[in-house]
Symmetry: C2
Subunit: 331 residues, 2 copies
Amino acid sequence: MRCHCHVCSLPGRVLGIRAARLSLALVLALLLVAGALTTFLPSNRDDEVLELRRAAKPQGRLVRDAFTLVMQTYNRTDLLLRLLNHYQALPRLHRVIVVWNNVGEKAPEDVWNSLGPHPVPVVFKLQTTNRMRNRLQNFPELETEAVLMVDDDMLISAQDIAFAFSVWQQFPDQIVGFVPRKHVSTSSGIYSYGGFELQAPGLGDGDQYSLVLIGASFFSRKYLDLFQRQPTAVHALIDETQNCDDIAMNFLVAKHIGRASGVFVKPVNMGSLEKESTGGHSGMWHRAEHFLQRSYCLNKLVAIYDGMPLTYSNIMISQFGFPYANHKSKA
Amino acid sequence: MRCHCHVCSLPGRVLGIRAARLSLALVLALLLVAGALTTFLPSNRDDEVLELRRAAKPQGRLVRDAFTLVMQTYNRTDLLLRLLNHYQALPRLHRVIVVWNNVGEKAPEDVWNSLGPHPVPVVFKLQTTNRMRNRLQNFPELETEAVLMVDDDMLISAQDIAFAFSVWQQFPDQIVGFVPRKHVSTSSGIYSYGGFELQAPGLGDGDQYSLVLIGASFFSRKYLDLFQRQPTAVHALIDETQNCDDIAMNFLVAKHIGRASGVFVKPVNMGSLEKESTGGHSGMWHRAEHFLQRSYCLNKLVAIYDGMPLTYSNIMISQFGFPYANHKSKA
């Protein structure tokens, strides 16, 4: 054996220890590198969810088995209080967060408290500006993974809500809700917005939807966080139009998961109480420009995101056997 | 530095080389171990699916975008031929496999060929015994991942089939079909079988189903393979009753995926042609003992599998906008 390395000139016993130390050092170094490399393993989505659970689980039990109602309100306190009486009794409701957009006006906490006790706590979040996107904040009082977001004039039956919550638990990455809408693209490349009366995109029989409106839906709280981290231009667009927060949410969900943003659950008993409001706000959608704004927002968001992330779905989910025998035709 | 190892007595240059070689050997050994350890990384379900695709993809293109119709037939050749004329024209149909249970009788290949050309190939698989489970073989002619299994008296509209196929593509691990059934457990612990008229298991409003019958459904071909590998007692039970192959399939799927075996798609236009058969077989379900057998099979299978793997679901899927405006109540 020839040896050309300089160490060969050192005494035998020193080299023996050096060989052992060198090997040990190499082993340790390799282990450290291997350990560091594990951070590059693809993170399993389930791991992300578990991370989210561990992070957001102050009480330890509630994260997937209960939900928080977030209801934004403006100038419709009569409807609000009527709806609170209805929603407060929902099974699996953890808490109600009322986003109080009546700037400068006292929240009805006194009335609420004087008519207690109540099944669940209600928190009134007084806002400093009357903004449509106020309801998309990541409120610290939000302790469940699921958010039930309802407009302050929508009465949705408890049966519909219980079922939709169970559906959300099976599709936790999507907006599971009761109001489907769609976009269509035209030969000019300009997008337009509408409901089922708008021509279907031509993907076979029947219709398609590409958005589920958030004002009657379940979605994961992580999307509130994600919304806050969207480009300022998105927030500015919503502020400019006082509209389109739901379109923006559908964009970010679709972009995040790479498939349809929502799952439509057909409501059995749901309606607007708008007409029953005495002298209150008549609703944003009555503004002349409301629907043109929706199409405008589609195209603005496509420009901001440099692409159209919304995709189509034609899945309509109903509750088997509710109403009775609804699996039969014409039921 | 003291050295107590025997190598210290060797000449210097030899130890230098030995140190280098030892380090190199250690490095290589560690890399080999690390490489071997990667096989223990959790295998992503997507990877499994890709494996399946690669394994089952002789033509390279067809595995998830087309399906194979498997239709077993006994003594109802008039209905069979009528149905073949209907099903042969389905979009995305790859091939038809007719499981010919008329033992000793010539298959109608001459008639079929003389009335060609046909949109897709049909293969007649002549059976040597008239067994219910003949249709659950892993036929070599099966080149798609999806199997559409239809009883030889069921006329399902092309629209329903196209939609159900698209739903199966979103739920490829489950039996996606048009006929839901359920089991119930009673206070005695004995299980019983039935439809929507059987009392719901009491899990909230509405009904639940725990089986989707395979005779009008899509499922993955891997379940044919899995069925063949079930305990002999399962095959014997099906042979004994000439029944319950679908119950057995639901058991094995539920056991395999640990959740509900099936997804119910509400058919818009589906019906049995049984009454229109001239002098043919009247259908197994007319036998006096047929339904009692179904309950019997439930309890036998629970004994074989040492537990009840079926779980409940109340998800009913319909095609949004087909028929037009079906998202509205009473549509």
